[in-house]
């Protein structure tokens, strides 16, 4: 562990190549001690790559790194840790089956060979008492909610005594209130001179509220930056996208609405297996967007899993246009039901297969007339891939690249592209804009609205209330596994919805 006090970091002329592809091109960034620095850029701009090079997780092709004004060789993450640099990755790096306490203790470089749990617990409790937020120590991490995991990740860095924290999209899985709480505390620590922070974010609101300075990347190059306050949000977004942002006017067209999907008296177990999901009645109509609001962990994920056939239903029925629906591939195809689940890389992709193959999941086993086909039509698959990559602006080094090598936002676009091609009668989406830059957010929302206007029935499960207010025709709130409230958009009131989300309506 390093001595007390924040430390400064400066990266000079960083370049990183993956094969022929240059993800980072001569980028320099200077972060003085005790400052809160934001790193902006669209999906695939190279933000994660830059910070991984700083941390020694990738070996930069060329470039230099200065920590507290002296040059260092960052050869592996251990070196970074010895210098007091710590990172919270975009994907959680906690070990799921270990408890929070075990995760903290084992991450320490000087973890004792034999761990005296009683003494460690006492010390951890003392440490927690000084921290601005708390996390239960004895639960396996897999049982923690996303917000708790994120807090634990940050706590872990502070516990390790790190004085320079890199946060890669720390708030993408948090509700706005949770995000403000966490970032407020982090900001407090920088102001006290205890830590320096480099945060990657897509949310201008957070950047302007908490950061001192920004650096903007575009296609692997540094294209701008400066002090927050001297550079306006419009300038930032323009620099990021390379053009003025288009403000899209989404129009809600009049549609013919008739019931398509109905859930009746559904019963299922929740993820922990301890509580139950009880949905009495949800009816989704064509040409409408039904927003499902709720704080994460109140049964929305289970609802999605029930609809995709990933979760066993113990009672009740789902009908689509009057037919019983068991979420088989054949039924989904017949009724033209499409899905965009949360974490699409894990729930809707084969991570090790290529982008082109993943994009062909809806078509590879049918010929042009929609009949089952035995041979794969490689040419059709390649054309499908290049069309979708083009229209949905998926950034990939090639259609043959593994989909897991795409940046988070680009996986999202690829899957949405796949699910929205052809005729779609029902579209079920869950948090479609997690981790997307604002241009992508706009285009995703445009497409959802366009689908609605064409008569698709859309079930939009989202933890982002603003998103629901913006898109939905009708809103239901889930709380404790039940639908606790329903309102048409015209009568919707944020305060009232918020109360129902919090469970006291």
């Amino acid at each position: 562990m390093s001595g007390a006090g924040a430390i400064s970091v400066e990266a000079l002329h960083m370049t990183m190549r993956f094969g022929d592809f240059t993800a980072l091109d001569d980028v320099s960034i200077d972060i003085p001690a005790g400052s809160f620095h934001a790193l902006l850029g669209e999906n695939g701009a190279g933000k994660s790559t830059l910070v991984k090079c700083i941390m020694g997780f990738y070996r930069a092709t060329s470039g230099e790194l200065m920590v507290n004004s002296s040059q260092v060789k960052m050869t592996d993450p251990r070196v970074a840790q010895q210098l007091g640099l710590g990172m919270v990755y975009q994907h959680f790096t906690l070990v799921p089956s270990l408890t929070a306490a075990e995760n903290l203790v084992i991450s320490r470089a000087d973890a004792p060979a034999v761990i005296n749990w009683r003494a460690e617990h006492r010390r951890l409790t003392e440490f927690m008492a000084q921290m601005p937020f708390k996390v239960p120590l004895d639960q396996p991490v897999s049982r923690l909610a996303a917000g708790e995991k994120q807090k634990l990740e940050i706590l872990k860095q502070l516990y390790l005594g790190n004085r320079f924290l890199i946060l890669d999209e720390p708030t993408s899985v948090l509700t706005p209130a949770e995000a403000d709480e966490v970032l407020g505390h982090v900001r407090g620590l920088t102001e006290a001179g205890q830590i320096t922070v480099l945060m990657i974010s897509h949310k201008f609101r957070e950047v302007t509220a908490f950061a001192d300075a920004v650096t903007i990347l575009r296609r692997g190059r540094r294209v701008g930056g400066g002090k927050v306050g001297e550079i306006s949000v419009e300038e930032m977004s323009e620099t990021m996208m390379g053009k003025a942002p288009e403000t899209s006017e989404r129009r809600r067209a009049a549609t013919r609405q008739h019931p398509v999907l109905a859930l009746k008296a559904l019963r299922a177990k929740d993820r922990s297996g301890l509580k139950s999901i009880e949905i009495e009645n949800i009816t989704l109509k064509s040409g409408e967007i039904l927003g499902v609001a709720g704080i994460s962990g109140n049964g929305q994920m289970e609802l999605m899993e029930i609809l995709t056939g990933q979760r066993h239903v113990s009672a009740g029925e789902i009908t689509v246009k009057g037919d019983a629906f068991r979420a088989t591939r054949a039924e989904a195809r017949r009724h033209k039901i499409r899905y965009l689940p949360e974490e699409p890389l894990h729930n809707a992709c084969a991570p090790r297969m290529s982008v082109a193959e993943n994009l062909a999941f809806r078509i590879f086993d049918a010929d042009k007339g929609g009949r089952p086909s035995f041979w794969q039509d490689r040419r059709a698959m390649a054309k499908n891939a290049s069309d979708l990559i083009e229209t949905f602006k998926v950034k990939t080094s090639s259609p043959a690249a593994r989909i897991a090598s795409l940046s988070g936002g680009n996986v999202q676009r690829a899957v949405l592209g796949r699910e929205l091609t052809g005729d779609v009668d029902v579209l079920i989406v869950s948090n479609p804009c997690f981790g997307l830059d604002f241009a992508a957010v706009n285009s995703v929302r445009d497409r959802i609205m366009a689908a609605r206007n064409k008569g698709t029935a859309v079930l939009l499960i989202s933890e982002d209330l603003d998103e629901i207010m913006e898109l939905a025709d009708r809103i239901i709130v889930m709380s404790e596994g039940r639908v606790s409230f329903e309102t048409p958009i015209a009568a919707a009131n944020i305060v009232e919805i918020g109360q129902h989300m919090a469970g006291h309506g």
Binding site: F57, T93, L94, V95, S97, A111, A113, H312
Partner: protein, 308 residues
């Protein structure tokens, strides 16, 4: 010693004795595999390691006239097999299950090749401790003849439980087994951890083999193992990757295996061969009863290619 007629009491007694006698190789192989799998890798080669351990243990015990050196040699041979498996698996695109099957056949082949000259000679036995001195009934005395390796196996299960909970090494193995990414982010070398875990797991399987040839059945021949190594690997899944459960599962399996002979000893001869299948049927039934279509497998290391 004269047999005393103890009636139906003979059945549970024979099962207990059988469980203790038969279970030892299962205990060692499954604890070894438990360690390897907890680090996120599967070593199916342990059947071959077991057979090679039986051969090398027997051969060295015969040459040095010491059962103790035999066990050491078997452990060392097992270590080598484990390290080779672990070393090959670190290469990209290599599948641990395929390598395991190859290593299994290699181990058996090598054991038969080098073991030919040792089928005839008689090597010294491993010592056993009599816990039945208090009784005058010979069946009780026979059932409570407990081999030192069985006791060691029990202690090892306790030790491993403690190790996974309260030592750095144990936690590191669990971290690597659960998330390669998290391990890398921590600056650990997952390949190295897995290499060592596979090596030690192999050594334990080797010891299990030495028990076969040096105690029960107590001689070296090519039919010495009837798939104990493979079954022990299945027991690890059944035991949900817990060392203590591995011990109990091995004991249960051994006891079920003794059911047939025990019933025969009291005169039940019908369906004798069916009772041979008892352990397997029992394992299958328990596996089905304790699993669920709702939850994912509890306790499974997430990096295991079986559960991925």
């Amino acid at each position: 010693m004269e047999t005393v007629d103890i009636g139906l009491w003979g059945v549970p007694l024979a099962i207990l004795g059988g469980a203790i006698r038969v279970s030892t190789p299962f205990i060692f192989v499954s604890l070894g595999e438990c360690l390897t799998e907890r680090s996120g890798r599967i070593n199916l080669g342990l059947e071959g390691t077991l057979v090679f351990g039986a051969m090398s243990g027997y051969a060295v015990a015969y040459e040095t006239n010491s059962a103790f050196f035999g066990v050491l040699a078997a452990a060392f041979a097992g270590l080598l097999f484990g390290l080779v498996h672990g070393w090959i698996c670190k290469f990209k695109g290599v599948n641990d299950i395929a390598i395991g099957i190859a290593m299994m056949l290699l181990g058996m082949g090598l054991a038969f090749f080098f073991g030919k000259p040792y089928v005839q000679p008689v090597a010294p036995d491993l010592p056993a401790i009599s816990f039945g001195w208090w009784s005058s009934i010979p069946q009780v005395q026979a059932a409570l003849q407990v081999n030192v390796l069985f006791l060691l196996g029990g202690l090892l299960a306790v030790f491993m439980t403690w190790m996974f909970r309260a030592t750095r090494v144990g936690l590191i193995v669990r971290v690597v087994g659960d998330s390669t990414d998290a391990a890398r982010a921590m600056g650990l070398d997952p390949d190295l951890v897995r290499l060592l875990a596979t090596g030690v797991g192999g050594a334990l399987a080797g010891i299990g083999g030495a028990y076969l040839s040096l105690y029960y059945p107590g001689s070296w021949n090519e039919g010495i193992s009837s798939g104990q190594g493979l079954m022990a690997i299945a027991l690890v899944i059944f035991a949900r990757w817990s060392p203590a459960n591995c011990f109990w599962a091995a004991l249960l399996f051994g006891g079920a295996g003794a059911l047939g002979p025990a019933l025969q000893s009291v005169g039940v001869t019908q369906g004798y061969y069916l009772f041979f299948a008892a352990p397997y049927v029992l394992t299958l039934a328990l596996l089905i009863l304790t699993s669920s279509t709702e939850r994912s497998m509890q306790g499974a290391p997430l990096e295991l290619s079986l559960t991925k």
